[in-house]
Subunit: 131 residues, 2 copies
Amino acid sequence: MNIGDVSRLSGLPAKTIRYYEDIGLIQPQRGDNGYRRFRDRDLHKLAFLGRARHLGFSIEDCRTLLALYEDRGRASADVKQVARQHLERIDSKLKELNQMRETLATLVSACAGDDRPDCPILADLAAPSAS
Amino acid sequence: MNIGDVSRLSGLPAKTIRYYEDIGLIQPQRGDNGYRRFRDRDLHKLAFLGRARHLGFSIEDCRTLLALYEDRGRASADVKQVARQHLERIDSKLKELNQMRETLATLVSACAGDDRPDCPILADLAAPSAS
DNA sequence: GATAGTGCTTCCCGTTACTGGAAGGTCAAG
DNA sequence: CTTGACCTTCCAGTAACGGGAAGCACTATC
């Protein structure tokens, strides 16, 4: 299978697939014409990577997870730790975003949004009132 | 005032302040020794930038907001639009993160986390059950 | 067999918002 | 006069690709 087919099947852009090879996440074979030749094993890995990335895991996490996935003797504790750390990062990001959202929503709803210059949003950025 | 003092006062790293000058957000004077000389106007701008960045606005948004801030004839509608678009980006990011969080939390709590290899997290990444 | 169109290759630059570090000039204290 | 803190510029690196150029490979058609 060529990269175009794999791209369509996996939903990953060809660029991304080449990138994953570059950084050593997959090792597709090569045909005589120099084209990458993907086999089932590569497809599985790419699907795995696509789902891991979709869950927000970093590339390095993905590398770790992939290694654990292929290690029949792994301990599930190792997998769980990677996932839990990621979960913590997500939680702290969520906290931060929720904070931003709250402030922003307040400011936006306080702003008249007409053609006059007075604007509580700018006022707050210039010197926050109380928070 | 030199960059070190400004950094301490504003809480922004000196590197960041130099970067903001590089991209034209501030234009501090220069002393005879070549050092940047910051005045009140620069301090105000940096404080403004710090707060806008803290709310998650992109640098380009900050540039726009700063321009609006300095334009006495602005329409608050213009400010509001920038803020509302940013709010929308935050909301969609929140949605995405909450989705991830939910899936991840489910998987993490389903994983024994012991020394055995069976792991629902890897199982899901390899082939998601139902979602 | 020539040609056109699509697909594949590598390579290099650009993105965001900085951060780290090197090499070197400046200033205040002792 | 030296030391140490502070300042300068410049270059490289980050995460995870995306855009695009230059060039080779394959397929279909005339």
